[in-house]
């Protein structure tokens, strides 16, 4: 676990500390129907950075976003944007651009009229409006589509209009409420890169909400993982992936196999098997723990000898082989760990049909790759 | 029970009820031999409220008692039944009613159109006054059954100095929006002709005086309505005076509204209502419909029916209802008619539409 730390420090040092754009302190939203939707969320977001709030549905991520946008008043806690309390001004006076889940474009207007709308509402000099609208349509590569009506545009083009409309008045903050959720995968991935490009070009502080871990990893400078209304971890994408702070984060990003057991110096004990791993923080011996190992970090071989360099290795049997295109996913089980189905990625392009179902293999990993967390209730 | 009456019963009842000559003009033998089959009911179109109550008590109930034939009252507006009857006769269908209780003017239109049965052979016609005979028509395509006056009805408290003596009294500014007329001006045209300085002899050729007076009245923003409206308006204190048939005023008074009526010096329109039978009825139903009208012309029926309406009938010797003796709305003696204006149905039928249109033109402005 200590490996990640130096990298983090060096990266921190390499960047100039930027002013904080969004500051949330102990934000709580309790609708009074059971557990709070958002529970004491606190974070800082620096100016110009792209933050993604990632979580499954019902995790409170959209509520958090709506509070930041000022559409929902928090039960308690405070939010400041560039030093000003958010709820001090009504939504239409704030400098926040938002791209909505269903885009919320105005169907009775053309693309250009949609983009000009915020400028008119914010009383921009009418002479400057057409030029500005053109610039932002160009920015989203819709220069020739200004006169089209919304229903004459494709899904991707509508996305771009929505982005241009949210950015044209140069807001202090751009909020994205899962706008890509409805798109097919190819278009979604294209738009993810577009978001990234535009955000870099304008340098606008951005908060994105999604349940798509790939999107979060691709577009973000920072990621907040939420579950059950709480912030589970706030980190850069690499850190988050490499050093999850708890089993939820470990399980939500990537494909991991979990092994329950008791803590043991340098690993965990499950049945009579000692598995090498790295403890997340101080864990006393004998504490119930769960170890998480990512699919790409498990090695799989036919002969036990080849895994001599691994800290842990044991024989297993192939339960299933799943072809995923660029790789194979093996599902393997060991007699000594009944009920644990290890998921193992195999990238060896030369030997795609290496093992068949029922084949006897050996799997193993290094101590630094298995993360061991205290079991939560 | 009434349906168990035998012919003899009818005969006895008929004889017993009066000297009424329901059957007297018919030799008994002929009646017994030829009395046609009775329908289970006959349908009489009537006006609602006190109007139908009076008819039921005076004519329909005695008729049922005597003949065993039930009487159904159809309360369709007189103006609305007219095109239905016309259409039925034109298409050779059986008309929707047996007897129409109608204004003489309206009935004259039907008579001119030739859709009414001749009623000259009714025995009780012998006992009627001149009023029963339609003017300007051959024979009896309809029979007038009573007369009525379009009086000036007023709220006494609005006239503390005594009853209005002239229709011109209504032009007083304090009656702005407080007077009511029929919405086609019916009943008002003739007194207006006099009040406007004209002569009744000029009707219909020169009615400018009438229209001038209507224009003056228009400046008073009169309410325009139909029979039921007047009662409602008096009851709800919307109006102080109205040109309306005395029966409506009497009805409102009987309902507890403080009301009086008068015939101003210019006079009031006097007109009649009548009964008639549409063509195309089956023979037997026509027979019994005629018997109904014949009964309506009997003295007892007239007495009860017209007590209810408070109107003078068409047979001599009727006793005026309480309080209406010598009342201007109940003319019986020749001098009573001095201030009443009677214009022949023929003239009315010919010109009514024009008068109506003219009145509307002024009032809808």
């Amino acid at each position: 676990m200590k490996q990640g730390a130096p990298a983090e420090t060096s990266r921190e040092k390499s960047e100039i500390k930027r002013p904080v754009a969004v500051r949330a302190r102990d934000l709580t939203m309790d609708f009074g129907d059971g557990a709070p939707a958002v529970d004491r969320a606190s974070f800082d977001l620096e100016t110009g950075r792209f933050l993604t709030i990632l979580g499954p549905s019902g995790s409170g991520k959209t509520t958090l976003l709506r509070m930041i946008a000022g559409f929902q008043k928090p039960t308690s806690g405070e939010i400041t944007v560039n030093g000003h309390a958010v709820d001090a001004t009504p939504p239409h006076r704030r400098s926040v651009g938002m791209v909505f889940q269903r885009l919320a474009l105005f169907p009775h207007m053309t693309a250009a009229e949609n983009v000009a709308f915020p400028l008119k509402m914010r009383r921009y000099d009418p002479r400057s409006v057409p030029g500005r609208v053109r610039d932002f349509l160009d920015l989203v590569k819709l220069g020739d589509y200004g006169e089209r009506r919304i229903n004459e545009l494709s899904g991707g083009q509508q996305q771009r209009v929505a982005i241009a409309r949210a950015l044209v008045f140069e807001p202090e903050l751009l909020l994205l409420d899962e706008p890509l959720a409805a798109l097919d995968r190819k278009l979604r991935e294209e738009m993810q890169l577009e978001f990234r490009r535009i955000q870099h070009e304008l340098g606008v502080t951005t908060i994105n909400v999604t349940h798509d871990q790939r999107e979060a990893l691709v577009v973000s400078d920072d990621i907040i993982v939420m579950d059950g209304g709480r912030i589970q971890q706030h980190a850069r994408p690499v850190e988050l992936y490499r050093m999850p702070e708890n089993t939820f984060v470990a399980g939500f990003l990537g494909v991991s196999t979990f092994v329950a057991g008791t803590a043991f110096p340098g690993g965990l004990k499950s049945g009579d098997l000692h598995l090498s791993g790295t403890h997340a923080g101080e864990i006393a011996e004998g504490t119930p723990v769960r170890g998480a190992i990512r699919a790409e970090q498990i090695r799989i071989v036919a002969a036990p000898d080849s895994l001599a360099t691994c800290d842990t290795a044991f024989p297993s049997r192939i339960l299933d082989v799943i072809f995923e295109g660029e790789r194979l996913l093996y599902v393997a089980e060991s007699d000594r760990l009944p009920g644990v189905a290890f998921q193992v990625y195999h990238h060896d392009t030369e030997a795609f049909d290496l093992y068949e179902i029922g084949a006897q293999v050996t799997i193993g990993w290094n101590a630094r790759d298995m993360k061991i967390f205290k079991s939560t209730a | 029970m009434t349906s168990k009456h035998t012919r003899r019963g009818v005969l006895r009842a008929g004889m017993a009820t009066s000297g009424a000559a329901l059957l007297s003009a018919m030799p008994a033998g002929r009646l017994l031999a030829q009395e046609p089959e009775k329908p289970s009911e006959i349908i009489v179109r009537a006006w609602g409220g006190e109007w139908v109550d009076a008819l039921k008590a005076g004519v329909s109930d005695p008729f049922t008692e005597m003949t065993g034939i039930a009487v159904r009252h159809d309360l369709t507006e007189d103006n609305e039944i007219q095109p239905k009857v016309w259409a039925a006769v034109a298409q050779g269908r059986v008309p929707p009613i047996h007897i129409n209780w109608d204004t003489t003017t309206n009935a004259t239109k039907s008579a001119l159109r030739g859709v009414t049965e001749d009623l000259s052979d009714l025995s009780n016609l012998a006992n009627t006054t001149e009023l029963a005979k339609p003017v300007g028509l051959d024979g009896y395509p309809l029979i007038n059954t009573y007369g009525y006056v379009y009086v000036l009805a007023y709220r006494p408290e609005a006239f503390p100095d005594g009853p209005p003596t002239s229709w011109r009294d209504l032009l007083d500014p304090r009656f702005k929006g407080r007077i009511a007329l029929y919405n086609d001006g019916i009943g008002f045209h003739f007194p207006a002709q006099v009040a406007g300085g004209g002569s009744l002899d000029d009707i219909p050729d020169n009615m400018e005086p009438c229209w001038n007076f209507v224009r003056e009245i228009k400046e008073q923003n009169p309410l325009l309505g139909e029979d039921p409206d007047f009662t409602t308006w008096f009851q709800n204190d919307e109006i102080d005076a109205a040109c309306t048939i005395s029966t409506n005023a009497l009805g409102a008074k009987r309902n507890g509204v403080e009301l009086a009526w008068t015939v101003p010096e210019e006079g009031c329109k006097f007109d009649t209502d009548c009964l008639w039978i549409p063509k195309n009825l089956p023979e037997n139903e026509l027979y019994w419909a005629k018997q109904y009208i014949n009964l309506a012309l009997s003295q007892e029926s007239q007495q009860v029916w017209l007590d209810g309406l408070g109107l003078p009938g068409v047979v001599p010797g009727l006793t005026p209802p309480a309080g209406l003796e010598n009342d201007p709305s109940y003319p019986t003696k020749p001098e009573d008619f001095e201030h009443l204006i009677r214009i022949s149905s023929a003239v009315q039928v010919q010109n009514e539409s024009d008068w109506f249109a003219r009145f509307k033109e002024i009032m809808q402005g």
Binding site: H92, H108, R165 | K109, S110, D184, N236, A357, K360
Partner: protein, 299 residues
Amino acid sequence: MDALEAALDMIWPRRLARYSGWAMIAPAILLVGILVLGLVQIAEGSLHTLDRSTFLPSEEYTLANYQTIIDSTTYWRVLWRSLLGAGLTVFFTLLLALPYSYIMVRTSSATIRKSLLVVLFLPFFIGQVVRAYGILIVLGTSGAVNDVLGLFGVEPLRLLFNFPAVVFGLVQYMLPFSVLLLAPALTAIPRETETAASSLGANWLQSFWHVVIPMAKPGLVGAGLVVGTLSLTDFAMPAMLGGGSQDFIANAIYDQFFRTADQGLGAALALLLVALGSVIAGVVIAIFGAGTLGMGGRK
């Protein structure tokens, strides 16, 4: 099952299948056909004048009835009053119905929504005539409104029997119809669109004006059309609240059919009303397009 299908085959053989669509709309066509037949008869009737010596329609065909209408100042006035009344009714009805349906659709309180619905539907169970009587009582010289005014020392006012009273009655009568026609159009506007407008800098009024009203246009046009044509052809409100001097075309038609027995003139007036209503509806649809009314036309 087979027997059933065989029987069905007997009644409606498969080769007729492509006419099934026509069979489905046959009842509607039949109804429209009866209407057209009636119109043809009315048109025929309008070409005969009334002979007042026999009270029979004339034998020969003539346009005299139409000439009578054109020459008559009364009918022009009645026509103008009907149009003005219908126009004002549409304006005020939509003015009131829009906020009403907006609140009904948008409110987060189930109680408010239910109360608004009940208040809306209650008048539906009370006929037009009874409602007009209610207005007669409430606005009468000795009615509730004048009683209240009396408390402030105001002499009883004549609130009834004039043109504003007729328009008031019509608006009151039409409000539920227009709310029912507007509510679906407003429901179809996603709440998010309004949130978006506000995040883009529009205050509530701007968002209502620039976003809600344009997006509710199909409902507004549809409601306006229904309210307009119903008001234009209304009979009861002018008859009862107009005090006899505020006739609409329908009252004039009634008079000709039922008071002067001049069915030819009545027919001509009726045809004129049909033509007027059709022209107005046609113009509205031409301007806004059938698509606006959700009838699938191209914009």
